[in-house]
C-alpha cells in the first residue's frame, strides 16, 4: 500500500491518550483528499510524543507517514514537527 507524508495538528485524543485524530494541514488535505489522520497504538514514534505523561496532547503539530484509508489516513509513523 502506498505511503504518503502528512502533517497536521493533534485535535482529539482517546481517553487512554494513546490514540488521536490529527487535523491535516490545508495543503496536505488538498494533496490527499482527506481531512484527518488517525494515530493508533500501532503508530511508530507515538511514545516520544507523550513526553513521559502517557498521553498525547491536543494542539501539538506533528508530521509523519501514513497510508490512505476510506475515511482518513492511518498514521504509520509520527513525530513532532
Amino acid at each position: 500500500m502506498k505511503q504518503v507524508p502528512f502533517a497536521g495538528t493533534i485535535r482529539t485524543i482517546t481517553r487512554d491518550g494513546r490514540s488521536g485524530v490529527v487535523a491535516l494541514d490545508a495543503d496536505v488535505q488538498a494533496a490527499v483528499g482527506k481531512a484527518f489522520a488517525v494515530i493508533s497504538p500501532d503508530t511508530r514514534g507515538r511514545i516520544a510524543l507523550m513526553n513521559g505523561t502517557g498521553q498525547l496532547k491536543a494542539g501539538v503539530h506533528v508530521e509523519g507517514t501514513a497510508v490512505d484509508g476510506s475515511e482518513a489516513l492511518r498514521a504509520l509513523s509520527v513525530k513532532a514537527g
Partner: protein, 240 residues
C-alpha cells in the same frame, strides 16, 4: 412460547450436528455456544450460522416484534427515539462485535452477572433476540478487520471497562453529566465506535463528534442507519 416470527424456513439453512459444529469451529467455542443454546418455538434449537458471519461484523440485536407487529417496550429504544434516530432503526438496542467461532465481544448490559467488556457466545440471546449483521463496505475494511478485533480483545485499556449504565441512561435525556468522559465505562455502540476508530480508521467523524461534543451519543440505531454498512440477515442452523 408464541410463533417464532423472525426465523422461518427462508433463513434456516438445514440441520447441523454437534460433531459437525466442533469440526467447523473450535471445540471449546462449540461447547460454549451450545451450552447456552435454548429451545425456541416448536422445540427447535436454532444456532446462528457461522457461514454468514465474518470477523469484524457488527451484530445488532433487538427484541422481535409482538405478534401484532408492534415493538416491545425497551428503554434503549425509547432513548433512541428521543435522540431523533430513525424510528425503524430504534428497535436495535444492542451492538456486538463478531470475533469468530460464534462469539462476540461487547460491552454488556448490567443485568448480567459479569458486566463490562466481555466475550460471549452469540447463542446466549439467539432464542429471544432478532439479529442484524452490519458489514463495513470497502476493501480497506477487509484488511483492517482483524486488527479491529485484536484491539477489542486485547487492549489493556478497553478490557477492564465496565458497562456505562450512566451514559446509556443519560442518552434518554440527551445530557451526559460528565461530558464525554467514559475512560472507565463504556456502552455497547460506543465500544464498537472506539474499536473501529482506533484500528480502522473508520467512523472518524462520529468519534470526533462523541469525544468533543458536550452531549453527543453514538447509539445502536446510529449504526443501523449508516450507509457505509451492508445489512445482512442472520441465518440459522437447527441443531440435531
Amino acid at each position: 412460547m408464541g410463533t417464532y416470527q423472525w426465523v422461518d424456513a427462508a433463513n434456516i439453512g438445514g440441520l447441523i450436528s454437534y460433531n459437525t459444529l466442533t469440526a467447523e469451529i473450535s471445540h471449546p467455542a462449540a461447547k460454549s455456544a451450545v451450552g447456552l443454546l435454548q429451545f425456541v418455538g416448536g422445540g427447535k434449537r436454532l444456532i446462528p450460522s457461522h457461514e454468514c458471519l465474518e470477523i469484524g461484523d457488527i451484530v445488532l440485536s433487538g427484541h422481535p416484534k409482538r405478534e401484532n407487529g408492534k415493538d416491545k417496550w425497551h428503554p434503549v429504544q425509547k432513548s433512541q427515539l428521543r435522540q431523533g434516530c430513525d424510528p425503524a432503526s430504534c428497535r436495535w438496542t444492542h451492538a456486538m462485535l463478531y470475533v469468530g467461532d460464534l462469539h462476540v465481544i461487547e460491552s454488556n448490559k448490567p443485568t448480567k452477572l459479569r458486566t463490562g467488556v466481555t466475550l460471549a457466545p452469540l447463542t446466549r440471546d439467539s432464542h429471544n433476540r432478532e439479529f442484524l449483521i452490519l458489514r463495513y463496505k470497502g476493501t480497506d475494511f477487509v484488511e483492517r478487520r482483524e486488527d479491529i478485533v485484536r484491539y477489542a480483545l486485547m487492549s489493556s485499556y478497553l478490557a477492564p471497562r465496565q458497562y456505562d449504565i450512566g451514559g446509556a441512561l443519560a442518552s434518554h435525556f440527551r445530557w451526559r453529566p460528565n461530558g464525554a468522559d467514559h475512560s472507565k465505562r463504556i456502552f455497547c455502540s460506543e465500544f464498537i465506535l472506539e474499536c473501529f476508530f482506533v484500528q480502522g480508521p473508520f467512523l472518524v467523524k462520529e468519534f470526533i463528534a462523541v469525544t468533543e461534543g458536550e452531549n453527543q451519543f453514538f447509539l445502536p440505531a446510529d449504526l443501523a442507519v449508516d450507509d457505509r454498512f451492508d445489512h445482512l440477515p442472520m441465518k440459522y442452523f437447527e441443531l440435531e
